[in-house]
Amino acid sequence: MTSYKDKIQISVAGEELSASIVTNDIANNFFAHRRSGRMALFLFGLIFLAGIVAFITKAMDGFDSSQRANWGYFAALFAFLLSAAGSAPLVAVGFRMTANHWRRPFARISEIYAVVGLLTIVCLMPLLALLPPIGDCSSGPCRKTLWFTSEYWGVPTFWDFAGLLALVVCGIALLLVSALPDIAQISALSESKSRPLLSKLTKFWTGTQSQWHIHRISLSLLGGFYFILLIGVQTIINVDYVMSLVPGWKDSILPAHQALTGIQAGVASVVIVAFIARTFGGYKKYFPMESFWSISKILLALSLLWAYFWFAEVNTLWYGRMPVEQNILKLVMFESYRLPFALNFSMNFLLPFFILLWNPIRKSVIGPTVASILIVVGSFFMMVRLYVPAFGIQDVTAFQITYVPAAIYPDFLDLIMIAGGISGAVFIYLLSTRIIPILSLWEVKEGLLYQRVRPFLRGEYQVLGKPK
């Protein structure tokens, strides 16, 4: 009879791990502060600064709702950040609820995206000033909105802001609650300069079973709230900043389509950072190919779903056959903005679908990463083809648009603002990884309790436990 010993591994081909190895690995990496990391922080910070300067320069030319057309690309940037970064925390929330193990290395990467919400709030503030008044339909020209009336206090600007604020507060609370045990643990082990501060912030966390119990419930509650809020906020923003600015546009699928694109881009954004952390961050053993393989199936499903939503959206307008519906189709898809649409369609559906269709490509690290990069870029072009034309329409109180407005092209300042905004998001993300480990220490170690590799007949297989 042969004797064997179970091995604690997170994948069959991986290394044997223990709580001690994981803790020291992550703590050492966290306090390493590599030169490349500092360089990246400096570079993205510089581009972010250039973006702020471009914004101020452009704002000096005028900043009110009559000059909305100049700010379409800024609105697209805001919508892109809200969609991609705002939806990324759902990866941790959703997959934690399904209690799978492959999500463990992705969890913190996705939660850290919540801090980018601070930038989206800052971007929303000037956009609130650009929103035209709803007007009073009983006494003069007015526009149709989601809010039905402008009688209520704060409609729509305060409530747009409050919705996004609630989302960001919820996301950051989720991140802090999740990261608290990790910061406490690594600060207890390190002699770094930041240790006194980190220890002081987390000294009340000792890891008692009652604290872990509350921790588990807190993550479920905040995660649930985040999910409920995200879809609502995306819908409100889409209706207020796209549909209600284009007279005659009535489409119940578009807001849901933007929310779905956000989820797709959020998952893709997480994959991209995971690839970087695996390749350049020294975390290779914690990101097995199996994790990328599993998330690639979600990406494939989301690409198909994206196509379905688009098809439903087009069909509604196409078979409506009203002139305004034909004009809207021509505006955002087939004439004025056909280039951004072609890029959006190919990058969110065609290319990822054909890349991820093949199991050998899915079953790799690079395949899902390439598909993810395409999806994130494609999502940006989706926001361009929706927000730029909507901001270009002047007569928002008309009954319907009777013509197809021409495309508005970005000027030099727009391009700098876009580069600056995206760099700003990366800068804030990188800055956050200075105080929060990019790998969820407690979650990876929890995984070690339930994952074993053991022989079965002639092979070795992974055995997973589900403690429910």
Binding site: Y152, L189, F204, W205, Q209, H213, W442
Partner: protein, 169 residues
Amino acid sequence: MATQSILGLYENAEYAAEASESLENAGFSKEEFDFLTDTPYPEGALGERHHSHRLYVFPFIGALLGLSTALLLTIGTQISYPLITGGKPILSIPPMVIISYEGTMLGAILFTIIGIIFESRLGPNLKNRLYDPRISEGLIGLIVDCNESKIATAEQVMTQAGAIEIKRK
């Protein structure tokens, strides 16, 4: 009599679970000891006490307060400025929906955060408990808070159960 704390460190979760059984057999109640771990173990796996909490009450109260504020704002506005729009009733539900939804969510989230701070005992006035940094590397801590007279018994039981080190405050 004054309460004292001791912390036993275990390399193996099985030994720590056995220590909790031995403590109970020696007359300690489950309220007198707790485990310190670097990762969440399945509830009850170590033989710890059942932890009751009121965390679910917080978001519920927050949601109710948020909803009430939103309704107060919308209904109050409608009653204060009773304009009939498009033949619709003065108190029309659809325009109230989004504001009510946002108010409810905002209240629920803020109260959940308060609840987490309160229920996790993360407040600044709480005493510093015994801790060992090696718990972060996988050791299991078994902390006993009991009368001075029982400390010697606790130490003996924990050592017999395989503690690699005992720390006192």
